[in-house]
């Protein structure tokens, strides 16, 4: 059997059904929307993370110490790219694969036009074991693995400024680490990027690692090793092990460290979500405060009656707080179930979001943790009690004789 105050609170909530239903609906909607948006954003953020880790950065990266802090990607700060060095990395528990890259600046030339561009050299086959989604951004032409040894994928802006089309040749001129100029011809095999989606660095190119090593006279060397883990979420755990294995000469970074802008973007999204959720919840809680205030005003005589039979102030306060919490909790539980149902359904089925101008639509799998649901349920019930605090205190502070004489 329910404790007497809880029983009375429960029945009082059911007493004015229409008003309780309106308040309940506000909390229901607020929590349903909060859970749904949280689930959708979790899915979206996971998609963004995955596309960054599996398409660009890998879970971990190894550089020569100081490389990341150097103003220009200095070729002096190179590291080995041979199989033995990569095997040392892949031997560490949790590591799945590793691949070498070189980042360098060059001057591609075609049709008597030269322009400065940033290039990334990669091992066309190994790269895909670390970043399997690397080629998703090639929207026209071939991938490097399907091309010859002297091939390049260019951003549309770079190709346009050189005035070359797919299949045409150009020359890449650059200085090696000693500053000696060298040039090699390449074939423009693929276009990189999404039409309509601006790239942060507009003049970009990708070439095979061996091509760059020959051009830069860096045989057996690279500037970056990208590392894939069995679970990219383990990056923080594997990082210190890899760092200890390689020693202070090398610097191990997680994808968080090298793509901090992703965390910033996620933090911004979360901030906006929390703001929207906060507004929804606030409005719902205002409804509860209003309901409780009306309830106190209507039941003043009843409060007097309770006081006349010896109910203490704290018990009156508890009764009204319980009523508010019940309203908040009931709306919250059902709202969470509705929101959770939405997240579960689309989490299983997946949401396909066509983004204007992008080749492939985004596949988002909404996901929400039980912890978040419990947290907002607590917030709804606690918030409801807080919203009802003033009306409840007002009820408990009444003088019995005044409460009894209320009309």
């Amino acid at each position: 059997m329910l404790p007497p105050l809880l029983r009375i609170a429960f029945r009082n909530v059911l007493r004015n059904r229409r008003r309780s239903l309106i308040t309940f609906s506000a909390v229901f909607l607020a929590l349903g929307i909060m859970v749904s948006i949280r689930g959708f954003l979790n899915g979206l953020q996971a998609t963004i993370r995955e596309s960054v880790v599996l398409g660009q950065t890998g879970a971990l990266q190894v550089h020569r110490t100081g490389f990341l802090k150097s103003v220009s990607a200095s070729l002096d700060l190179s590291i080995p790219s041979d199989d033995a060095f990569l095997a040392k990395i892949t031997a560490i528990p949790g590591v799945k694969e590793a691949t070498a890259r070189i980042m360098f600046g060059g001057m591609p030339n075609a049709n008597d036009v030269s322009t400065a561009a940033l290039f990334t050299a990669m091992d066309p086959r190994r790269e895909l074991t670390v970043c399997p989604r690397r080629n998703e951004m090639i929207y026209r032409g071939k991938a490097l693995k399907d091309s010859g040894p002297a091939a390049a994928i260019l951003s549309p802006e770079l190709a346009a400024s050189l005035g070359i089309k797919l299949g045409q040749k150009a020359t890449l001129l650059t200085g090696d680490r000693d500053g000696v100029m060298n040039a090699l011809d390449f074939e423009f095999v693929g276009e990189y990027g999404q039409p309509g989606l601006p790239l942060p660095d507009k003049k970009l190119g990708f070439v095979p690692l061996a091509f760059a090593q020959e051009l830069l006279r860096m045989e057996g060397r690279a500037t970056e090793i990208a590392v894939a883990l069995h679970r990219f979420e383990d990056a923080e755990k594997v990082k210190p092990v890899l760092q200890a294995t390689l020693g202070p000469e090398y610097e191990v970074s997680t994808w968080h460290d090298v793509a901090a802008y992703i965390d910033d973007a996620i933090a911004t999204q979360n901030f906006i979500l929390n703001l929207i959720a906060g507004v929804f919840l606030f409005v719902a809680l205002l409804g509860i405060a209003n309901t409780m205030l009306m309830s106190v005003l209507e039941r003043t005589r009843e409060i007097g009656t309770m006081m006349s039979v010896g109910v203490r102030r704290r018990q009156i306060l508890t009764l009204f707080l319980l009523e508010a919490s019940l309203l908040g909790l009931a709306g919250g539980v059902l709202g969470s179930i509705a929101g959770g149902g939405f997240v579960l359904y689309y989490g299983h089925k997946g949401m396909i979001l066509p983004i204007p101008g992008m080749l492939a639509p985004l596949h988002v799998f909404p996901l929400v943790s039980a912890g978040y649901i419990l947290f907002i349920l607590g917030l709804a019930a606690g918030g409801a009690a807080l919203a009802a605090l003033w009306p409840s205190v007002r009820a408990s502070r009444m003088r019995p004789v005044e409460a009894l004489s209320a009309v």
Binding site: M307, S308, R313
Partner: protein, 239 residues
């Protein structure tokens, strides 16, 4: 109740003054009331509307505090006690019956009657409490209505619930503020008879306010009040 307690008044009011402030006007409700009520008495406070009956009963019931004067309940000064102490006193020693019944609408008869006992810091076990409640409900004629909510009862039945609720705590004093004002004459007689019967059988002290002269014939002692002053103590008459 000890022999010593029996000789002392349960209620002792001395020079009780109660004033209300209405805007800038001070309205005197009680103007120096002295009253002693002995244990086991069945006292009626008579007077016209606005004479101060309800104010007097509110002060005796610790629902209101006097502006000045002293009030001793069972030999203890209650004027300086805080809300929770007075709540405890109302809960354990005073039962109050109102003109408009004042039941809790979401509770049924049994739940209304047991409510004061459940609000105690140390409530008695529910099984024994329930047994007492059922017995008391039967005693006051509510046997067939125990699962009914107040809105399913007649005025007389509601007042019986209020009487049972006032008695369930084994109070030393029951205050009834015009308990028959909202009842027809037949039901009024039944309710008064019931209270007299409980007074005689259980020895509970009753103070009863009314402005209905018909009720007077049932009283052992009548206190007349007018303009906030006690104007006459009628001697005890045979009920």
């Amino acid at each position: 109740m000890t022999q010593t307690e029996r000789g002392k008044p349960l209620i002792a009011l001395q020079d009780i003054v109660k004033q209300y402030q209405l805007g800038k006007t001070i309205v005197p409700a009680l103007q120096g009331v002295d009253l002693e009520v002995m244990r086991g008495e069945f006292t009626v406070v008579m007077g016209p509307s606005g004479s101060g009956k309800s104010t007097l009963l509110n002060i005796i019931g610790c629902l209101d505090s006097p502006t000045s004067g002293t009030y001793q309940f069972a030999g203890t000064e209650v004027g300086n006690q805080d809300f929770d102490k007075l709540a405890e006193l109302r809960n354990r020693k005073i039962g109050i019956i109102f003109q408009s019944f004042n039941l809790i609408p979401v509770l049924n008869v049994i739940e209304n009657v047991e409510f004061p006992c459940l609000m105690r810091k140390d409530p008695e076990p529910l099984t024994s409490l329930r047994a007492r409640v059922v017995k008391l409900c039967e005693d006051v004629g509510l046997g067939p209505y125990m699962k009914h909510r107040p809105d399913e009862l007649s005025g007389g039945q509601r007042q019986r619930v209020a009487i049972a609720r006032a008695l369930i705590t084994h109070p030393e004093l029951v205050l009834a503020d015009e308990p028959t004002a909202n009842l027809d004459s037949k039901t009024s007689d039944q309710i008064i008879a019931l209270m007299q019967q409980l007074n005689q059988r259980m020895g509970v002290t009753f103070i009863f306010s009314t402005h209905d002269p018909r009720v007077m014939q049932h009283a052992k002692r009548v206190v007349h009040i007018a303009d906030g002053k006690i104007v006459e103590h009628s001697p005890q008459v045979a009920a």
